[in-house]
C-alpha cells in the first residue's frame, strides 16, 4: 500500500510519458498486432482489434486494457486467463459496452480500437444500438450469482424481463419461456421455482438461473466472467458441463474469463493469457498447454495445484504482485517478476516492449527470448517440475 501512495506523486506524468514513448517509440503497437488484423469487415464472428480501455483517475491514467487483439468463431470457446487486475474483466465489459458502468463510473473512460461482432463495429457505434444488442446477441454471466441477481424480484420475473426487453410478447408467453429455460438449465420443478426469490435458491441453482437468463434470447456470444469462482467445487463441474452442453446446443461463441487454468483446460478451444492489460500469449489451448511460450504462462501453470504432483514438491509461484496499470514497467511488463529477464542481451526486456510473435500455427507469444531458448527452458527446467 505504501508503494501505491508513492506512485501517486507524478504518476500522471509517468503514465503520460510512458504512453508517449510507447506510441512514438520504435515498437509502437498499432498495426503491429499479428494475425487477422486488417482494415474493413473481418471474416470472424467476433473480432477485437487493438482494443484499449483507459480510465483517467486522480492518480493517473489506468490502462486496464492496452492494445488487445483476438478473434473468435461461433461454436468456439476462448479462455482468457490472468491475475486479478490483468484487464480480463474490463475486456469482457468493453465488448458488452458495459465498461462505462463499472465501479470507475465517475471517471471518463476512453476506449479505442475496434470490436466487430457479426459484421458490426461496436466501439464507434451508438450506445443505444449497442444496448439493443446486449442481452440479445451477446449476453453475460457473472462471478457471484447472489449479488448479480436482484434480491427484490423473483427469479422468474428477472428472466421474463430479460426476454421482454427484446421480444414483444405478453407476460404469460414470456413466463412460459422462463420456465422452459429454467427446466433446460436443470432446475427441478421449474414451474414452482420460477416464483422464488434468489435468496431461496442455492448457489449452484442461482448460477443456473443466471445462465437461463443469459441464454433466454439465444445469444450468439456468451461471456462468462469467472462463472464458477463463487461456487462449491462439486457444483463448479456441473456448471462447466452445463455451459459446454448449452454451447453445443445453441452453437454460440463463448468467452470464458478465469484465473483457473483448470477451467480453461476443461472448456476452451483457444487460450489468451493477459498480463498488465496486454496479451502475452495466445493460441490453441492444447498447444499452449503442451508448449507454453511465455514465462508468465509457465508461472500460472506452476501455481496450479495438481493431485499427481509429489507432495514434497512445492508449487512454483509467480513472485511479486501484478503490475500497477498506471505505472506499467517499461519494456516487458512482466520483467520485474520474470526469472529469465536477463536472458536476452542488450537489456531488451527492460527497455523495449515485446510484440506478439508467431511461434507456430495460431500460437503467439510476446517474449524477447529466442524461441529456441524458450523451448529449451520449458523442456529442461519447467516441464519436469510440473
Amino acid at each position: 500500500m505504501t508503494d501505491s501512495s508513492e506512485d501517486k506523486n507524478g504518476a500522471a506524468e509517468a503514465a503520460d510519458t510512458a504512453g508517449a514513448a510507447a506510441e512514438a517509440g520504435p515498437v509502437a503497437e498499432t498495426g503491429a498486432a499479428p494475425a487477422p488484423a486488417g482494415p474493413g469487415k473481418p471474416a470472424a464472428f467476433l473480432e477485437v482489434r487493438d482494443l484499449k480501455v483507459h480510465f483517467p483517475t486522480d492518480d493517473g491514467l489506468v490502462k486496464s486494457v492496452d492494445g488487445l487483439t483476438f478473434s473468435l468463431e461461433k461454436g468456439k470457446t476462448l479462455g482468457i486467463v490472468g491475475e486479478s487486475g490483468s484487464g480480463k474483466s474490463v475486456t469482457s465489459l468493453a465488448v458488452m459496452g458495459l465498461h462505462r458502468a463499472s465501479r470507475r463510473q465517475r471517471s471518463k473512460v476512453t476506449m479505442s480500437g475496434e470490436i466487430w461482432l457479426d459484421g458490426k463495429e461496436l466501439v464507434g457505434a451508438d450506445p443505444d444500438e449497442v444496448r439493443r444488442l446486449r442481452g440479445r446477441q451477446m449476453a453475460m454471466i457473472f462471478q457471484d450469482p447472489l449479488s448479480a441477481l436482484h434480491p427484490f424480484y423473483t427469479v422468474g420475473s428477472q428472466i421474463v424481463e430479460a426476454y421482454r426487453v427484446h421480444h414483444d410478447v405478453d407476460k404469460k408467453t414470456a413466463r412460459k419461456r422462463a420456465i422452459e429455460m429454467l427446466d433446460r438449465v436443470g432446475i427441478p420443478q421449474p414451474d414452482k421455482r420460477v416464483d422464488d426469490h434468489p435468496h431461496q435458491f442455492s448457489g449452484g441453482m442461482r448460477q443456473r438461473a443466471m445462465i437461463a437468463m443469459a441464454l433466454v434470447n439465444n445469444p450468439e456470444l456468451l461471456i462468462a466472467d469467472e462463472p464458477t469462482t463463487a461456487l462449491d467445487v462439486t457444483v463448479q463441474a456441473q456448471i462447466l458441463d452445463l455451459i459446454r452442453d448449452l454451447q453445443k446446443e445453441f452453437g454460440s461463441a463463448v468467452i470464458i474469463i478465469t484465473h483457473d487454468l483448470g477451467v480453461v483446460a476443461e472448456l476452451a478451444d483457444d487460450l489468451l493469457v493477459m498480463y498488465g492489460g496486454r496479451c502475452v500469449e495466445r493460441g490453441p489451448a492444447e498447444r499452449v498447454f503442451a508448449a507454453p511460450q511465455h514465462p508468465y504462462t509457465w508461472g500460472l501453470l506452476g501455481s496450479m495445484p495438481r493431485i499427481d504432483r509429489d507432495q514434497t514438491d512445492r508449487l512454483i509461484p509467480v513472485k511479486g504482485s501484478p503490475p500497477s496499470l498506471i505505472n506499467v514497467p517499461s519494456g516487458c511488463a512482466f520483467n520485474p517478476r520474470c526469472p529469465y529477464a536477463d536472458v536476452p542481451k542488450d537489456n531488451l526486456t527492460r527497455t523495449v516492449r515485446p510484440e506478439l510473435r508467431q511461434v507456430d500455427g495460431g500460437h503467439f507469444s510476446a517474449c524477447h527470448m529466442a524461441q529456441e531458448e524458450r523451448e529449451r527452458i520449458w523442456t529442461e527446467e519447467i516441464a519436469p517440475k510440473l
Binding site: L98, R106, R131, R136, F142, H150, P151, A162
Partner: protein, 336 residues
Amino acid sequence: MFSYIIRRLISAVILLLIVSAVTFGIFFLLPKMAGQTTDQLAQQYIGKAPTAADIAAVKKNLGLDKPVYEQYWEFLKGIFVGVDYKFGPDAAKCHVPCFGYSFKTHIEVWPEIQSRLPVTLSLAAGAAVLWVVSGVATGVLSALRPGSLFDRMAMGVALAGVSLPMFFTGALALALFTYQWPIFERSDYVPLMEDPLLWARTLVLPWVTLAFLYSALYARLTRAGMLETLNEDYIRTARAKGLHERKVVLRHGLRAALTPIITVFGMDLGLLLGGALITEQVFSLKGVGAFAVEAINANDLPNILGVTLLAAFFIVICNLVVDVLYAAVDPRVRLS
C-alpha cells in the same frame, strides 16, 4: 405474509401498552417529584377555600390516593367505557374514548384533540407528499450525475435546507409571501371538505417550508442510497440484459434504494402527526402541536398526557405500516 402482519400487529399493541404505561407513570410521578402532595393535587380540582372533607372526597372520587397501577387501570378502562368524574359539588362525564378530562378548561381531552387533528393531518400529509416527491427526485437526479453542476447545486440547497431551522425559514416565508407580497394571506384553517381551494391556499406556505426542511434530508438520503445501489452487481446485470438506462435506474436501482427511505419516512411522518409544534406556532395553525404547547404552558397534565399518548400512537402505527411495507418491498424480510 399474513402471519407476518399478525405478528407485527400484536407487537404493536404490546408496544402501545408499554408506552402508555410508562407515560402514565411519568405523569403520576411528576407532581410528586415537584413536591406536591396528593392533598395539593386534589385541591387543584376544587374551587377556592376547600374544606378538608372536600379534599378527601375529591381524592376518593378521582382515585388520587390509589396506587399508580390502579390509577393506570382506571385510565385504560376509561378509554373503553368512559369515566364519571365527581369533584366537589360538580360532576363531569368523560365519554368513550376517554383520554382524560381537563379540570382547568373543563373540556374532555379527546374531543379537543379530535377537533385539531384535521389541521395537523392536512399539514403533515401535504408536506409529506411534497417532500417525498421532490426529495427523492432530486436525490435520483443527483446520483445519476455525481459531481455535475445540478448535483452540486442541489446538494448545496439541501445543506441549507437541513441547516436552517424551521422558525427561520417559516418566518422568512411569512415575511416574504404574506406581508411583502401578499400572495398567501394569513387566514384560519378551512376544512378540506368545506372549500378545497381555500384549504390548500392556507396551507401552501407551511407545506412548502416544512417540505423544504425534509426534502433536503431526503435528497441527501436518496442520493447516497442510489450511489451505493448503482454500484451493485445486479445493476450491471440489468444493464447486461439490454434494459433502457431509465428502467435500470428506476426499476432496479431506486427500488432497492427506497427501503431505507421508507423507514425514515415512517418515523418522520409519525413524529409529525403527533404535532408539528414549531410549524403550527409559526403559522398560527390550531393543530395538535399548538394544543400541546398550550397544554404545557397551562401546566394542564391531562391534556399533556393525552397529546403525548397520541404522538406515541402515531409513531407506533407508522412503524407498523413501515414494517408491512418493508416486507412487501423486500421479500427477505418475511422470512425472519
